[in-house]
Symmetry: C2
Subunit: 251 residues, 2 copies
């Protein structure tokens, strides 16, 4: 075996290719191999050098994503063959990105690795709609939660802890479970009038936005044409959207 | 009055100038005026065009920061004079950045604005130390909290809601209040052995890191030479640091 390569987990950001970091752009432009997911924009993939190898793990030959354990082995194999690998993931590798499952396997195999953070969907939706994640007097804390659960399981969260009117809640992957989320948050003390903003494809040309409230979000969402992935921002800050978007300029 | 300018609130990221987004770099490079804070790196300020005006609001003539209300008026004034303004802030403008106080004033004054998100300190510290913010089986949620409070007030948080062993807690500006934070979290049910990682100047050449646990962090921090700003990552994920950093490569 010759020299071992390195693997860098790189966050590709929320959708807008310009929200990539300078470091991510540099590493993509000098990679030997790029292993990427379904949610990475075409404009970002266009930055991969023509001579570099591209590995799409968002879809296998049977149109299913490659299992996580197999992705881990792909990364180890390329690095052991001496290649410098960029592992490109939507959002931030360490926020609902399963990044640590990959770095743990790399550490175990003795492969040097690094991680480059990316703008996560909550930040993208917040910036593009003008809704802040924290705000003096309204939200002293912000919390990101996954609304995803296995098909045969009930979403089991710390509802009492979540129902804090001074914390902004951002639910990722919550489209299928929004009814339960809204019901439980109200059962644990949040007002039905608590503002909820749903955002699909944040920061892209396809961005869609829905302003609602906890006691109406299920019906409003069902009547909307928002497509997955959707994130939900729950809390008083979501009610600022009308005010601040008055002067909003999309860049 | 001629044409009105625009104001773009831009996140400068956690410290490493390469963690700026491509969009932020483009906007800084074409600004007429850049209004910036104390925590923005010199390498980022060097990207401002020589002909652009620079306004440092991190320090006034009396070595105190310019009050928020005055910053709001500075932004309105430059925009009304037809200048395109970049308002450059450490981290992300909408996460503990008081960004919405500025956008609300701009909206009120009829000044068009936009917001560009930035990598926040929690993400920078997470990536550079290899400690994930979420991880299957350990942390299904991550929460950012400010540990800052006025000198004459007690930090009054939703301690019972915070003390969830399945949520990663990241405290910003908590160096002065870490004793209270640790005591209250333990009083509300978190184990004394809960891992805590403190990181100062994350993602810069001056980065310092301290691995501790809830029942020891106060003493460990007092004996350390960590300089502000320090952020604290509390939760089971902080205990992964030893394992994952084995193969860590700093880029």
């Amino acid at each position: 075996m010759g020299n071992i390569g390195t693997v860098t987990l790189v966050g590709a950001g929320p959708g807008d290719p310009e929200l990539l970091t300078l470091k991510a752009a540099r590493l993509i432009g000098s990679a030997d191999v790029v292993v990427y997911d379904r949610l990475v924009a075409a404009e970002i993939l266009a930055m991969i050098p023509p001579e570099a190898e591209r590995v799409n793990v968002g879809k296998s030959t049977h149109h299913h994503p490659v299992p996580q354990e197999e992705i881990n082995e792909i990364l180890v194999r390329y690095a052991q063959a001496g290649r410098n690998v960029v592992r490109l993931k939507g959002g931030d590798p360490f926020i609902f990105g399963r990044g640590c499952e990959e770095t743990a396997r790399l550490a175990e195999a003795g492969v040097p690795f690094a991680v480059v953070p990316g703008i996560t969907a909550a930040q993208g939706a917040s910036a593009s709609t003008g809704v802040p994640l924290t705000h003096r007097g309204l939200a002293r804390s912000v919390r990101y939660i996954t609304g995803h659960c296995k098909a045969d399981e009930m979403l089991d969260l710390d509802w009492a802890g979540l129902a804090d009117p001074e914390t902004t809640l951002v639910f990722y992957m919550g489209k299928a479970t929004i009814r339960l989320i809204a019901t439980q948050l109200m059962a644990h003390g949040l007002e039905g009038s608590t503002p909820v903003m749903a955002v699909a494809s944040a920061t892209t040309a396809q961005e869609q936005r829905l302003d609602s409230r906890l006691d109406r979000i299920e019906g409003d969402l069902a009547r909307s044409d928002l497509e997955s992935p959707v994130i939900f921002i729950v809390g008083a800050v979501a009610g600022l959207s009308g005010r601040t978007s008055a002067g909003c300029l999309c860049t």
